[in-house]
């Protein structure tokens, strides 16, 4: 049976954060309900394409999936199970999906401990869930919770335009733990405006002291079309040194400067060193996990596993064809509910060359890198034959290790874009 990851997009949030350029927006309850019914219908009508697949990871992301009306998320998982074959505890795939009882018996353990069990992640925002909601998620089969807090400093949270306080985060974390979730991820962001290296490290150590199974640590990016872009523009790209006072932010306070490039790099290096001491390992450029707690779904992206995306603007890749769902909410709903038509857009079949490019630049995100053997198996050619000169150049620049597995050096990781762009043919 071929494995499949499923991504479900929930494009709703309570309020847009100032750095956020994802497909996410506030909406009235009525609209959310309408969206969910379209989503369920999409999941159902797409099922016919996935008869030969077994689902081994589900990721419900957003936006903030936890702002859905009560019961909606549970219904979503129910529908997925109804129409898709999930890998089961016994290793035996049943026609109508996995039985709840069997699943419940095993939710106490992480998916890695039992590869036969699918990893089912839901993203939540602090302050949008409570014990009751979390318990219901767990009963529905959710076994991994990803909490996007980004910071535990009130000032920073307010500046980012987030809706929650640090206390909200700690309460949500505790609730998740007490509900029985053991596989918890926390998102943290580095290089926030006005943030010193010490501020950041305090954030990190407060989060690490909770001992979550997984930590995602990203740098803040200034994306076009966000309030932050208005304030900072692309100055960010040019070494990040910006004047201290550049006007007022949305709350009438001063616009804070972004940390310098050197500070940001220091944050990166400290993250690695600090989390290593705490027992985490960095398995991807920005992701740290306790042993065996790597996010199976995300690793699938880097290893080019097949995945189906459902919902507004969701991306998919199956059989080396990539596509994206359309991203206009009204059109999405009408296409599905009224016309019963496909919502796929931007469909492109990847040629061998593109597949090789992806194999390299996605695989190199992982600490373990890429294997020549695997390249040869998939493409029938030696990696050296295709990328020999590039690898040699990057290796001589101290960016790539080419001895055994091919992987980024620590410096190569710092300038990974530069390295990855080299693998585009």
């Amino acid at each position: 049976m071929r494995k499949l990851g499923i991504y479900v997009h929930i494009p709703f949030c309570i309020k847009k954060c100032r750095y956020c350029d994802f497909l996410s927006f506030p909406a009235p309850e009525e609209k959310k309900r309408e969206y969910v019914s379209a989503l369920l219908k999409e999941i159902e009508r797409e099922a016919v394409y996935y008869k030969d697949f077994t689902v081994d990871s589900v990721f419900i992301g957003g936006g903030t999936p936890s702002v859905l009306p009560e019961g909606a998320l549970e219904e979503l998982l129910e529908t997925l199970r109804q129409f898709y074959r999930f890998c089961s505890v016994s290793g035996k795939d049943t026609e109508d999906g996995m039985e709840k009882e069997a699943l419940l018996r095993h939710t106490g353990k992480g998916p890695a401990e039992n590869m036969a069990e699918p990893e089912i992640t839901v993203e939540v925002n602090p302050g949008t869930v409570n014990r009751k909601k979390l318990e219901s998620y767990r009963r529905a089969g959710v076994n991994r919770i990803s909490i996007g807090t980004q910071s535990v400093h009130g000032k920073e949270l307010a500046y980012l335009g987030r809706i929650h306080s640090a206390e909200d985060f700690f309460r949500t974390y505790q609730d998740a733990q007490e509900t029985g979730f053991t596989n918890i991820n926390v998102d943290i962001m580095a290089a926030l405006p006005g943030q010193s290296v010490e501020d950041y490290m305090d954030n990190l150590s407060q989060i690490a002291s909770l001992k979550p199974a997984h930590i995602s640590a990203y740098s803040l990016m200034i994306e076009e079309g966000t309030p932050f872009y208005e304030w900072y523009g692309e100055g960010r790209m040019e070494g990040r040194t910006l004047p201290g006072s550049m006007g007022m932010d949305g709350n009438g306070g001063p616009v804070l400067p972004l940390p310098s490039e050197d500070e940001e790099r220091e944050m990166y290096e400290c993250t690695d060193a600090f989390l290593r001491k705490k027992g985490y390992h960095r398995y991807e450029i920005s992701n740290y996990a306790m042993p065996g707690k790597e996010c199976r779904h995300n690793v699938g992206y880097w290893k080019r596993k097949d995945y189906a995306g459902f919902g507004l603007g969701a991306s998919s890749m199956v059989d080396n064809v990539r596509w994206k769902n359309l991203s206009d909410m009204e059109v999405y709903i009408r296409r599905i509910l009224e016309k019963n038509e496909s919502v796929r857009e931007e469909i492109s079949r990847l040629g061998i060359q593109e597949q090789m490019e992806e194999f390299m630049f996605l695989g190199l995100r992982l600490t373990e890198g890429v294997e020549r053997k695997e390249f040869r198996r998939i493409f029938g050619r030696d990696m050296e034959e295709v990328y020999g000169p590039v690898m040699e150049k990057l290796s001589s620049q101290g960016l790539l290790e080419t001895g055994g597995k091919v992987r980024l050096t620590p410096y190569g990781r710092d300038v990974s874009n530069y390295v990855m762009a080299e693998f585009l043919i």
Partner: protein, 608 residues
Amino acid sequence: MSNTEQNIDQGKIRNFCIVAHIDHGKSTLADRIIEKTGLLTSREMQAQVLDNMDLERERGITIKAQTVRIIYRAKDGEEYIFNLIDTPGHVDFNYEVSRSLAACDGAILVVDAAQGIEAQTLANVYLALDHDLDVFPVINKIDLPSAQPQHVKDEIEDIIGIEAQDAPLISAKNGIGIEEVLEAIVEKIPAPKGNPDEPLQALIFDSLYDSYKGVIIFCRIKEGRVRKGTEIRMMATGAKAEVVEVGYFGPGQFIPCEELSAGMVGYITASIKNVKDTAVGDTVTDARNPCKEPLPGYKKVNSMVYCGMYPADGAKYPDLRDALEKLQLNDAALRYEPETSVALGFGFRCGFLGLLHLEIIQERLEREYNLDLVTTAPGVIYKVHKSNGDVIELTNPTNLPDPSEIEYMEEPVVNAEIMVTTEFIGPIMELCQERRGRYLGMEYIEETRALLKYELPLNEIIYDFFDALKSRSRGYASFDYDLKGYEESRLVKLDILINREEVDALSFIVHADSAYERGRKMCEKLKDEIPRHLFEIPIQAAVGGKIIARETVKAMRKDVLAKCYGGDITRKKKLLEKQKEGKKRMRQIGSVEIPQKAFMSVLKLDDK
């Protein structure tokens, strides 16, 4: 109307032009005149009929002379033929302006009621008076709140010395007072003279290449007549051809007619292949019955400013060559010859009348021919006197002989006139001093305004002098110049080294005293333009092998993409592709990749 052609009464013809400072409303007035005389309804008029090219419309300037014939029924009940010759409005095209003026018998001087007389107004009106044109003023933009028509009238009388008290008060934009202007044209501009029975003598004031008709000569018939079949000869170039068609200018079209005779303005086609044969200022005569002597004032137009132009994509070299060839068909002032640069590959050294001309050609190459160009710093023609007595006219800095072989060098110098309100005299004088200007004098035009006279080296004003002038006078200064001649000067070649390699395309000639300042600014500019590499890159400016300025591009430390949400790999790949694409568009100098725009950014080193 075309039936009346044959018996045109010379006394009913008015050949005139409009002179004005830029933005004072010349083209708008031309539009209104055309509209009022009923040739086009305002619905048919695209704003500013006479400015043909998009570029002209966008920049609000006239680049090529435009001409139109209009029929006007005057209050005396008679029909008059107006030939309106619109002249280019920029100092780069001074010679063309002077030839257009020579084709006229009179001129309308448009002065902005709020701004009054400006440097260009003066330069143009003196040019018109030099050509013995009868000039009458109109005061435009009288509906502006800041208009001071009486004050401007007095100013015109005091400064220029022409009668202005009965000048029409108009608003070309809003169509006020146009009737009065039309009547004034009839009354104040003299009818042409000239005898149709004398041998043909016609002045070429413009020409353009048309792929069907060949070269179309724009001319004013001074004496004699010309018609289909006449064998004509260009007296300066010697080119001969048989006339295929003659005609006059309708708005936006050529209207053929039987004959052009003394006093008329029109066009001639004669299967001529190249505008070089029909130089502006040349005299057309009848090859079988030539006039005794050519009309005065012909001169060969020389390029004043040179720069290298290279295709951003080396493979487009043949396209660039073809495009230049085509542009030259229509622009006798454009020069080009192939050259090679270590940094930029194959390209052309091109000569222009001035910086505006350069910019126009560059923009036309990019827009009309879809070429992506890299341009090197513009320079002037230096005269290098070698110890062995040879004199080299240097257009490319890299060809400068070894200093040991140079006796001395000369550079072109211009006489400049700058009109400025008194509060900005200080900053403008400072600017001229910085640009090695020699102060000649100052005249107070009125209490609040002065005309500054300077001698300035041409190479100091071809960069960003206009911009600097505008910014230091808050837009109030205006400027005009003409070439004075060559003078000896202490000049050096400034070289730029990137990662210790000399980049030939960035070298230029500069006065010894400015070398340090310029070198420093170039290094600063380049530092901002060159992306970080994996290693540190020194950028140095050097004169004669001696380093005079240095900057450093620090090594790249971080370049990581953020989170990849929901498996949107396509977006991530697009970013990487953009990065890769950016690299493709760079020039490799040693191990350093330099973006194309770095070569351009050093052209504008404006002071702050």
